[in-house]
């Protein structure tokens, strides 16, 4: 088990009682996010699709690596790593 820091973006902080970061243990990103969901009701629903993948409009980084370029939720974490949850910021005037 590794102890990692999870950085929470401001749109998700109402779920973590305003905390901007949480220390948590886990061996993979999946384990860490599942523990976050156990600790903070509704967290998993905002970040994961049926628990198996990260929602398409959420990016998850381990340090400076996007887990989509690694092993997705099976990406391993080491002691002292930082997991950042980032809402995908997009839009524009186009409608189709």
């Amino acid at each position: 088990m590794s102890s990692v820091t999870v950085k929470i973006p401001s749109p998700l902080r109402p779920l973590t009682a305003g905390q901007s970061e949480v220390k948590i243990e886990g061996a993979t990103v999946r384990e860490v996010l599942q523990k976050m969901d156990s600790q903070f009701k509704g967290f998993g629903e905002r970040v994961l699709d049926d628990g198996s993948t990260v929602k398409r409009f959420i990016n998850v980084y381990v340090n400076e690596d996007n887990i989509r370029d690694k092993r997705e939720l099976e990406t391993e974490v080491k002691n002292g790593d930082t997991i950042s949850i980032l809402p995908s910021i997009a839009g524009g005037l186009g409608s189709k």
Partner: protein
């Protein structure tokens, strides 16, 4: 309400004009008071990764978002808003803007939209998402001098 120092407003407008005919985007960093009013203290431009439809869509580079969050994590400032431009269109929030903001539940951020016509800034408005209504509402933009006086 969002307060933007004139110098940063100029930086945002310059970025919007420099991005024309494509959409530009970036992050507004600052503080939020107890009444949820934002004050911008720094602007950081980010890449628009939507290469195929850069003229009418933007997708902010998440690595830029990550680095800006890190840059300010030990300061009293944080990301408080998003800027993007609408080339040759009004500065109203579009349905696409609304849909993408609703997806991420971005009710705590100001969305500043800059209209650029023929390469020159034609106006700007700021919008805040009401999650229950799933609609953006306009908020006042106040330009302040470096000393903090309203203009």
């Amino acid at each position: 309400m969002i307060r933007i120092p004139a110098r940063l407003q100029w930086e945002i407008y310059s970025h919007a004009e420099g991005s024309y005919p494509n959409e530009g985007c970036g992050l507004l960093v600052g503080t939020t008071d107890k009444d949820k009013n934002h004050t911008v203290h720094a602007f950081r431009p980010c890449k628009n990764l939507n290469m195929e439809r850069a003229r009418d869509r933007y997708l902010m580079d998440p690595l830029c978002q990550l680095r800006v969050a890190r840059e300010f994590e030990n300061s009293p400032w944080e990301i408080i808003g998003i800027y993007h431009s609408h080339p040759d269109h009004p500065s109203r929030a579009s349905q696409t803007d609304t849909d993408r903001a609703v997806e991420i539940g971005a009710t705590v951020w100001s969305y500043v939209i800059v209209s650029v016509r023929q390469g020159k800034v034609a106006g700007a408005q700021s919008w805040v998402l009401n999650e229950n209504e799933k609609k953006f509402h306009e908020e006042p933009v106040v330009t302040v001098s470096e000393e903090g006086d309203s203009k």
